[in-house]
Symmetry: C2
Subunit: 172 residues, 2 copies
Amino acid sequence: MRLQGPNLRMIPEGDDRERLVCGDCGFIAYENPKVIVGAVCTWEDKYLLCRRGIEPRVGYWTMPVGYMELHETTEQGALREVWEEARARAEIDALLAIYSIPEISQVHMIYRARMLSPDFAAGPESQDVVLVSWEDIPWDDLAYPNVRWSLEYERQMRGQSGFPPRGRPVEG
Amino acid sequence: MRLQGPNLRMIPEGDDRERLVCGDCGFIAYENPKVIVGAVCTWEDKYLLCRRGIEPRVGYWTMPVGYMELHETTEQGALREVWEEARARAEIDALLAIYSIPEISQVHMIYRARMLSPDFAAGPESQDVVLVSWEDIPWDDLAYPNVRWSLEYERQMRGQSGFPPRGRPVEG
């Protein structure tokens, strides 16, 4: 018999919703929303963008962003992604946006960060990393809508502080 | 042979950190930080508090709060907890605080909400629910430090809007 891992959808005893359960050993694979952390990083008036080197959306551009890992704060996770994807060091200065994306059970927390130097390089998951002015952002080749939202929020909030994080825009 | 479920700590091929893997079928139980959502709810100048009816911290007091579930926004999750634990309806008015608790890999997002009516009742996970004035909050019997932080932030921010969420305080 080939074992299949958690592959049954059932309501465990004492619970009130379906979970993913292993039919062989009873292990309950609790699925909860995942947190995505990232940062719109700038050096003077330029934006740090990464060209994705891994699926999905290979070849498209994004700010450094990725899954929050265990045993880190949201801020530490965002700065870890900045290092992993763009080999840049930055300091966080505000929480720019929180996007709940219930369709795929994610919560994105995107910070505004200032690079500590203009140094950067492509990390292992990036094909390329660039520092570009607003006009040179590859708007037609952004990986996801929230990349555009985040860049636009950064632009709107330039010079401002003490503001609440923006949410997912109501798109017309 | 009794199957044990995911019980090996190892780095899967192509990954860069240890995951929990099933030695029998190879299932990788990815563990990511969990999101906790809740709300400090008020009716006029009174606060809605629940006495916990389940472990941990049975018998201690908290605002309605719990694990965010799949396919909901953080706001929907917070208001779901308000209903499940306190059988109250409320509307969210601000994001009061975000607490990263890396020691236990949690991110708490606590909202400020106004009750739509003074109706409430103990949900299945609460021993009791009350609506109390600031002076009558059972300060010595709160379930967790973040309950106190959240109540204090609500008090500090009364009448204010457009503010960034507070973080975990630096405790002296």
